[in-house]
Amino acid sequence: MTLEPLDLVQTAQAVTSPDCGAVATFVGVVRDHNQGRPVRSLDYECYEPLAVKSLERIAAEAAVEWPGARLAIAHRVGSLQIGDASVVIAAASPHRADAFAACRYAIERVKQIVPIWKHEHFDGGETWIEGATADPDDEAAKRIARERARK
């Protein structure tokens, strides 16, 4: 968790190792529209100690699901502008299928269980974006993340 701009290369390097033939990456970016209205900027707030533990939990889950896969996840908080990267994920694995799957799984789980909140500023107002009720033990949510990862 950081207030600073994210570094994709650094995140990828954190998981790269000689036994891994694949590193898949994902960058989540602040988009200029939501629900048909223009977005000016976003503020991200987090509960940092629990956010860090939740990210570690996601990495551990992925390591069980795809043995040999390693994850690095960096999430930015604070005030972000359109086009800024809010989350960067790198998944390394001996083979590409597991790297892609672990990377997708990670972003799905980030959205489900990491205590981060988006405050959207749009023309004429602002609102909190409320997504998923966080429950790390919710098996149905985990199953959805696994299914999306294996698509």
Partner: protein, 88 residues
Amino acid sequence: MQVTIRLFARLREITGSGELAREVPTPADAQAVWEALAQEFPALEQYRPVISCAVNEQYAKFDTPLTEGDEVAFLPPVSGGGGFGARD
């Protein structure tokens, strides 16, 4: 006993503070703390079905027994990542 309450996003805005210290009768669980807080700030009440809670920086159930000095956090639905909803 005294507990520290942490609130985020919309819940923080409703109470006007991200961190509150409150005295609660013993024994208490997270649910009891929430109920006392919702009495103090009735606008919180509607959020109970969708919030999660954490005790001492770990996700916890609302019936987790509390001890003196515990930190109880109430978490509105989370929305991390790059897009805006589950489909993003």
